[in-house]
């Protein structure tokens, strides 16, 4: 069992690297049980979208909510 600290770290890190099967499984299980980390995972995607829109000087952001447990690298 991983805790919220470990889960959020993985949710951040999966934007830079592919998680191992073991990590994915542990994360999936944790996120299934934990609403706060589920929200955190969605926010990671939103944060990336926001940052890119900001960098592009756009006034708005696409509403893209990605599932927190199935977004490997987001390129």
């Amino acid at each position: 069992m991983i805790d919220c600290k470990q889960a959020t770290r993985l949710l951040s890190e999966q934007q830079e690297r592919n998680l191992s099967r073991r990590e994915k499984l542990a994360l999936k299980f944790h996120v299934f049980m934990c609403k706060a980390c589920r929200n955190f995972g969605q926010q990671m995607g939103t944060l990336r979208d926001l940052a890119r829109s900001y960098a592009k000087g756009e006034e708005k952001v696409q509403d893209r909510q990605q599932p927190s447990d199935s977004n490997p690298q987001d390129k």
Binding site: D3, C4, K5, Q6, T8, R9, S12, E13, Q15, E16, R17, K35, A36, C37, N39, F40, Q42, Q43, M44, T46, L47, R48, L50, A51, R52, Y54, A55, K56, G57, E58, E59, K60, V61, D63, Q65
Partner: protein, 217 residues
């Protein structure tokens, strides 16, 4: 590295090609310049260097303006030029800054993490991320971007730099590690901390209406 060019709020010569219309649109150019400056200042934290980078990016854009027909494409393109300028400046600066200056304050980070998670590694009740689905629509507003600005400015410098290299300039992890002589795990933890801070700041400042007033700049 600054070359002087006739660019500015109102410094564009008129009548080149029909395609160049957008760069001669004074209002569009003023807005674009403001956005670019904001972006450059945030990353470089040096007004003069930011001005130079923006000026050079706009000069580069003007030289090749014929290839750009639509305003939206033009904006994206000009920003991509700016990103390269900024990346260059950061690379140069990195070579002259001692690595020690970029060292994180581990005590500060430990305290920050303790504020978010209990000893069992679970979220403290008050810090649990909530759902952002509700007020997403409001993200279109100027007000939101001011909050976003303030949150970015609130990041510790190293975290801000790494976050922007990753998410604004969209550099790959390997390149950031190389530029900043960071280990991969160091990069991961730095991005993680930046994201923890940003998301908390946005939630307090924007998505959670009960605290929105306090965090607004």
């Amino acid at each position: 590295m600054t070359e002087s060019v006739p660019v500015g709020r109102d410094g564009i010569e008129a009548g080149r090609t029909p395609q160049a219309q957008t760069l001669q649109d004074a209002q569009f150019l003023t807005e674009l310049r403001q956005q670019m400056l904001k972006f450059a200042r945030l990353q470089l934290r040096d007004d003069d260097q930011a001005e130079d980078a923006v000026q050079e990016a706009l000069a580069g854009a003007l030289k090749n303006e014929d290839s750009f027909k639509r305003q939206a494409a033009l904006r994206t393109w000009v920003f991509s030029i700016l990103k390269y300028k900024i990346a260059d400046i950061l690379r140069y600066r990195q070579r002259v800054i001692a690595t020690s200056e970029l060292g994180d304050d581990e005590h500060r980070e430990q305290a920050f993490m303790d504020g978010l998670f209990d000893s069992g590694g679970h979220w403290h009740k008050a810090e649990r991320p909530s759902s952002w689905t509700g007020p997403q629509g409001g993200v279109h507003s100027d007000h939101f971007w001011r909050v976003f600005d303030a949150c970015l400015n609130g990041l510790p410098e190293k975290q801000a730099r790494v976050f922007m290299m990753r998410e604004f300039i969209e550099l790959e992890s390997e390149e950031i590690c190389e530029q900043l002589t960071l280990s991969t795990s160091n990069l991961h933890v730095t991005l993680y901390r930046a994201r923890l801070r940003l998301r908390a700041c946005l939630e307090n400042g924007w998505f959670d209406p009960s605290t929105a007033e306090e965090a607004t700049p």
